[in-house]
């Protein structure tokens, strides 16, 4: 087996007593498009800074293209083959985009600036101070890719891009992946993960919750069944081994995520009058909610429609809690 493009092993960073990340282990193969998902403050940026040697780990190690980050001399060499977009890219306000790129070109090379600028145009001759957030982000894309890196590490690279440019960027990332470039990027946007990633690592409170193949994740995560009934629904009736998540929505309907065994479901439904019944594919949001639900609820994941909280379901059963056991299982899988 070849050397992983990115290998993070037991990476731990404490700021005094405050945990940045703890015992993080992720391995990314060459040519993979890898997502790193977590709510704000989960430790994504800390991980990326550790990986690039901007921070020193408290424990553990990280390597890129087989070279550990603490092997200073060799790692500097590797950095010549790495591109990076920081979380909030800050350039030199009084310097024009062109001169900024000239400067970076002098430090790490320039093989394809023009091609990138055609795709992600910016007002090159204006000082960066005058750039919009989107233009700054495009400049960040150009500087990250212009020396034709083998590995690209990006911290929320699409923030500030308008939707059309975002799509263009996704397309570009897929092309880069197909050329063999390894792409590692953090995001808190689930749709982005589904749209572009091959695999995803999920981080919460500085700890790795899961590393999953996107297709597997969606395939394994079953279907969402929604039942509306004039009767009061007892969650205990739906506690099958295949149940991934069951909850009573604020409007009194049952929302069940199940990986199969529809016979048992049909049997359980026999005791109820049914106004409406819907069975649909799991949206990625449903899947990821499992990873976050079991926690302390301080997450800021952009989870779209699945935001029903337990407090709101006052009119229904008290035990309208998601069942954490199964979720935990799939999380540790």
């Amino acid at each position: 087996m070849s050397v992983p493009a990115i290998d993070i092993d037991g990476l731990t960073k404490f700021y005094g007593d405050v945990r940045g990340v703890e015992e993080l282990s992720i391995s990314v193969s060459e040519g993979e498009l890898f997502g790193f998902l977590g709510p704000n403050g989960a430790g994504k940026s800390t991980t990326i800074r550790l990986l690039l040697g901007l921070l020193k780990p408290t424990d553990g190690t990280a390597s890129i293209l087989g070279v550990p980050v603490d092997d200073r001399a060799a790692f500097l060499d590797v950095l010549g083959r790495v591109g990076h977009i920081p979380g909030d890219p800050r350039f030199y306000d009084d310097v024009t985009g062109r001169k900024t790129l000239d400067y970076f070109a002098g430090l790490s090379g320039d093989d394809r600036r023009d091609e990138l600028l055609d795709r992600f145009p910016v007002p090159l001759d204006r000082p960066v101070r005058a750039y919009s957030r989107g233009n700054r982000q495009k400049l960040a894309i150009v500087q990250a890719f212009m020396h034709d890196p083998r590995v690209v590490v990006m911290d929320e690279p699409t923030s500030g891009l308008d939707p059309l440019v975002q799509q263009e960027f996704y397309e570009f990332l897929r092309e880069e992946r197909d050329r063999g470039v390894t792409v590692f990027f953090s995001t808190h946007i689930l749709g982005e993960v589904r749209e572009v990633c091959d695999r995803v690592a999920i981080i919460r409170n500085g700890r790795l919750v899961a590393v999953e193949d996107i297709d597997d994740l969606l395939a394994r995560s079953g279907k969402v069944v929604t039942v509306q009934s004039p009767d009061s629904i007892d969650l205990a009736d739906f506690d099958f081994p295949e149940t991934i998540d069951a909850r009573i929505e604020p409007d009194g309907s049952l929302r069940l995520v199940t990986s199969g065994n529809y016979d048992a479901l049909v049997d359980a439904l026999e005791g109820y009058r049914i106004d409406d019944l819907e069975v649909r594919e799991t949206a990625i949001e449903d899947v990821f909610m499992h990873f976050y639900d079991e926690g302390d609820g301080e997450d800021g994941v952009d989870a779209g429609d699945s935001a029903a909280t337990d407090d709101e379901s006052g009119e229904t059963d008290d035990d309208a809690e998601p069942s954490p056991a199964d979720a935990e299982e799939s999380a540790n899988a």
Partner: protein
């Protein structure tokens, strides 16, 4: 040479500030020199006036000069001792305070140090950027003094003047190194600049206030202890030992700055 890329980029960004400093300094020199003729025409006994200053004041602002009726002596007291050593020195320490901390503070460092640029090279590049800046300021003042002296028809000892500016340049470079170390150590520009200017200003005062006291040895901490514009310009004595100290201190501070920066977390 990536240090030179870093240095030339940094220098280019500082050009505007540098022009302003030069203009202010040249104007100060011009005014100072313009006043000199009327100074000599008055019938004040300047030797007596100097004598009457407290010793600390003399040490700080007069230096070793005993006669300010000559243009050289006058310039040392009015220009080199105060404006050059204290104000321009503090300025360069302050300016250097933002060299590294500025990039860390504004996070642009995250776009630079993820390239094949070691932190040591980064620090050295930043230091090198200030050398032409010091040279420009140094030469601007030199030119202003030479031209000014010509305009008021005064003779000035050119070799000695060059010596003052050569040694003065080394002193300013040492001030830059003080700022560089503060800049590598602190993550915030304000703190780095405050520390840098505090050290240069504070040790200047220390050097002046401890003259002829039991604590005179404390003045050895000040860079100003190692050059004496009065000796250079009036007497023409070059203190090679002092020059060696200035150069050595600069080297040590730059190495320390690089080492401190290598070991730091950047965030």
């Amino acid at each position: 040479m990536r240090e030179l890329d870093i240095a030339s980029f940094e220098f280019a960004r500082r050009r505007r500030g540098l022009v302003i400093v030069c203009v202010l300094l040249v104007a100060t020199a011009g005014l100072t020199i313009a006043v000199f003729p009327s100074f000599g025409e008055s019938d004040i006994d300047f030797a007596e006036l100097l004598e009457s200053y407290p010793e600390e004041f003399q040490a700080a602002f007069v230096g070793s000069v005993t006669d300010i009726s000559s243009l050289e002596g006058y310039l040392v007291v009015e220009l080199y001792q105060l404006v050059w050593l204290l104000i321009v020195g503090s300025y360069f320490a302050y300016a250097a305070g933002s060299l590294v901390a500025g990039e860390v503070d504004r996070q642009s460092v995250e776009l630079v140090l993820v390239r094949p640029v070691s932190r040591t090279r980064f620090v050295v590049g930043k230091f090198l950027a200030m050398l032409p800046a010091v040279a420009v300021v140094d030469l601007a003042l030199l030119a202003a003094v030479v031209v000014g002296a010509g305009l008021i028809d005064e003779e000035i000892h050119l070799t000695r003047l060059l010596a003052v500016h050569a040694v003065g340049g080394l002193y300013l470079v040492a001030c830059v190194a003080v700022g560089l170390l503060a800049s590598a150590f602190f993550g915030r520009v304000r703190r780095a600049q405050g520390a840098a200017i505090g050290v240069v200003f504070g040790t200047f005062l220390l050097d002046s206030l401890t003259v002829d006291t039991d604590y005179e040895f404390l003045g050895a901490l000040s860079l100003t202890r190692y050059l004496d514009p009065g000796e250079l310009l009036v007497a023409g004595d070059v203190d090679w030992g002092g020059i060696a100290v200035l150069v050595a201190v600069t080297c040590v501070l730059v190495v320390l700055a690089a080492e401190v920066f290598e070991r730091r977390d950047l965030s």
